[in-house]
Point group: C2
Chain length 355, copies 2
Amino acid sequence: MNEFVKHSVVIVGYGGMGSYHAKLIKDNGRLAVVGTYDTDARRGEASEKEGYPAYPSYDAVLNDPAVETILIATPNDVHKELAVRAFAAGKHVICEKPVTMSVEDFKEMTAAAERANRVLMVHQNRRWDEDFLIIKQMYEQKTIGELFQIESRVHGANGIPGDWRHLEVHGGGMLLDWGVHLLDQLVFMVDSKITSVSSRLSFILGDDVDDGFEALLQFENGLSARVEVGTTNFITLPRWYVKGTEGTGMIEDWSMVGRIVTRNREVEHVEPKPIQAGVGLTKTMAPPSESATLTGALPEPFRQPSSFYDNYVSVLEGTGNPIVKNDEVLRVLNLIEAIFRSARGGETVKNFDFY
Amino acid sequence: MNEFVKHSVVIVGYGGMGSYHAKLIKDNGRLAVVGTYDTDARRGEASEKEGYPAYPSYDAVLNDPAVETILIATPNDVHKELAVRAFAAGKHVICEKPVTMSVEDFKEMTAAAERANRVLMVHQNRRWDEDFLIIKQMYEQKTIGELFQIESRVHGANGIPGDWRHLEVHGGGMLLDWGVHLLDQLVFMVDSKITSVSSRLSFILGDDVDDGFEALLQFENGLSARVEVGTTNFITLPRWYVKGTEGTGMIEDWSMVGRIVTRNREVEHVEPKPIQAGVGLTKTMAPPSESATLTGALPEPFRQPSSFYDNYVSVLEGTGNPIVKNDEVLRVLNLIEAIFRSARGGETVKNFDFY
């Protein structure tokens, strides 16, 4: 195929994410949304208003030979069935995250794709987030020395939004929502086996799914990570907080406000003066003398050379490898299962990583 | 005794903490430093310059009938021996923290005090810290609803200060240093059993003791706590970050800069608008609408009615009960042992709390 041919996509599930995909694909030169399907007729109407014909049934999508790719943006519990049927009908699949709610389900899904020799790519789009790419560069380039601690947080105060995300049967909850993004970023960045995980889920809002969680991960290469999602945080802690052997880095939020502070190697070590802290003195927690550290801007991130959709097209055309690999997606699902086990049992979980 | 009689104190160990005690006691009307003893002759000279006679030996202190109280501010590994000898000589003891390096040692120490019918009070002075007293009030008064998460951190960038604090044999390391304060505050505040602890120690500076640690504590009443000490943090996270059912509270540092942000119950819930975050949209992590929350100042803390020294005098005179009780100190030491076990084994530790 040449670069002027557009690949047809039908979006299944035309809610918040489905319509967002339609907008993004419109800006992409190599894919074209040729229709949508949603079980909710009102969404079909909304789709037609935007110029995307609404298929009357999923079978109608599957039976349309003009459809090359099905993009699945439904609640999580039906991803697998929809994808397996798509492969059987000879379609390729882009699937929203979390691709499935379990390792076993994802194995069924990838087996079905392989049998049909079709592409399956999971929309782990936050590998393209600039904040993440800055941290990834700091990790690889040792901008503040060797990173030995990475804290990745997202904090909101809105509780769990929407409807089905409150329900376990649909794969709701924050670990499967923002959690899968943050864990995917971490596992994509750090090339080392996870040796243990210890976690807690939050159920403070009374939903039947977690409204947030925290997980401590230990990697074989010595790196410690903390991953945290909160929906009951009226004050936010930084999106990224990372410690290296030469300094500390911080990114406040998606506005990219942040900084790095490093040891000034040009200046001889001066023992800090004790400060009054509460009713006591502390030398340990006194700020270093002004000349002892250097404050700098965040580095410019290496950007991914192509967008998620560009990369998908190159995989479809056999000219490129997927940036989001299915064995990486499998590894993250397996990690999520370990986090659930750790939280439910109140235990540290080891010897689980598929690395 | 009447309030014009001053109780005599000899400070043993006239380093940073010993001389700080001398200054504080000078301001207190009911205690008087009558001398010091240090194995380092230069410190004896420094003491005499300040007007405190330097005893030539510890025996000389013990044999002086004018000495009522011995204040121990030496490295941690000799606290027990010095205290046990003090009790045998009929002296009362104020001891620096950590009082001992193990539960067993502290039991020996309290047994010796009981046999001699003498007072032993441990200088857990940070129970009087204003930042802590604000959080304690928020916990008790439910200022932001029921607190269900407490994060207590101290971050420095100076590494471990001084000399003996680098060495395990002297009881060095951050868990036994700032750790004992933060854990003591938490256990003093939260009247519930600790059901599990999971922790990691940091050894990034190459000392033979920990240069920091993090511990996740779970209490039976549902409260989760995170306690963290770091000496390699060039950017600091807030001293206190606490979550309640109605909002979030934060205290930056000992300057008492901070705020509380709570849900505005007067305003109907408005679903937040999605924001662009990296390459994706998020409704969950969008800031709540301006009218949906209220930002307020930290409450004024209830202050302890008397200082550590005032309280000590009242215990000595039989007119008051100790604010720092020895069974609380024992409980914290036992918790510290559990934190060491958890970190060394990479395990979650349960069924240990002396509550």
